[in-house]
């Protein structure tokens, strides 16, 4: 099975979401996602890493155009190579991205409210917390959002501008995919990337320090 996802001209996290959907739809096979920017290439690669699938990146003809070939399940290696080689130029460069996640601070946010108690207070405290994170350097490396925390990265959230500002400063924002799905927020995400539990755990485990908040 070979599926192609042409995600050129699509804004994040669409390429990741579409790739993930195709990977979920097949038992075995190769999903090739075509993207036209570095960020999308990195995010799709991270998706493959977080799902534990091997992948190869092939540079496209245009600048910043990449073909990411992700292999799921039992696909004969030769078959993969043949399939991929078919589309490639002779002197292409294969690049496997480096994952640099063993440092810094991860903030894990498991609720759209800070602490237990009255909802309106919890929500206002959370807004105030995120503002404080935005205003304080050094910034964390990663902020992961899970359970009702994902409301904060989606449409209607009052902290989107702070989170977008943090992304501009290089902070990685990850929302739990299963949680977005549960709350029917898959199409409402406005900032950062979608991750699964492997990625969330990896970010917590590899950080020098993790703050958990809920």
């Amino acid at each position: 099975m070979k599926i192609e996802v042409d995600a050129r001209k699509e804004a994040c996290p669409r390429p990741v979401i579409r790739t993930k959907k195709e990977l979920e739809s097949i038992q075995d096979g190769i999903v090739t996602t075509i993207v036209d920017n570095e960020a999308a290439k990195d995010n799709v690669s991270k998706l493959a890493i977080s799902l534990g699938y091997s992948f190869i990146i092939d540079k496209g003809e245009e600048d910043s155009e990449y073909y990411i070939h992700i292999t799921k399940g039992n696909v004969n290696d030769m078959e993969v190579k043949k399939d991929i080689a078919h589309d490639m130029d002779q002197d292409h460069n294969l690049t496997i991205p480096k994952l640099d996640s063993t440092r810094g601070l991860t903030i894990a946010i498991g609720s759209n409210k800070m602490g237990n108690g009255e909802e309106e207070l919890g929500k206002i405290l959370m807004k105030s917390f995120i503002y404080t994170v935005r205003e304080t350097t050094p910034f964390p490396n990663t902020i992961v959002f899970y359970n009702s925390g994902v409301y904060l990265t989606c449409e209607g959230s009052e902290v989107l501008d702070d989170l977008k500002g943090l992304v501009e400063e290089g902070v990685e924002i990850i929302s739990c995919g299963a949680c977005l799905d549960y709350y029917h927020l898959q199409d409402k995400i406005q900032v950062g990337e979608v991750g699964n539990m492997y990625l969330i755990y990896e970010k917590m485990k590899n950080a020098n320090n993790t703050i958990t908040l809920g």
Binding site: E120, L121, I124, L125, S128, Y131, T132
Partner: protein
């Protein structure tokens, strides 16, 4: 470095902050809830940041008794230096 100027509203209690949020939301006034800056310690822990134009509207509302405010500050943000001037 650009200098940005905002209005900071501080309240007597968190309940008033939450009340003010609801009023501003109703009136479609953009705002941001922030921890009360350390430099302004005499108030509850949550303040509201608005544009200087909107601060004038809030001043009016305050005089009309529509919103319960403790103090208003002018917040001058110049790179790393933050400065607060008490207005009321």
């Amino acid at each position: 470095m650009n200098t940005e100027v905002y209005g900071v509203i501080v309240f007597k209690s968190t309940h008033y902050t939450i009340q003010a949020e609801n009023i501003l939301r109703e009136k479609d006034i953009g705002f941001k809830t922030i921890p009360t800056p350390r430099e302004i310690s005499l108030s509850c822990g949550l303040a509201i940041l608005v544009t200087m134009d909107d601060l004038e509207i809030i001043k009016d509302m305050m005089y009309k008794g529509e919103i319960n405010v403790l103090n208003l500050y002018k917040y001058i943000r110049d790179g790393k230096k933050n400065q607060y001037e008490k207005i009321i």
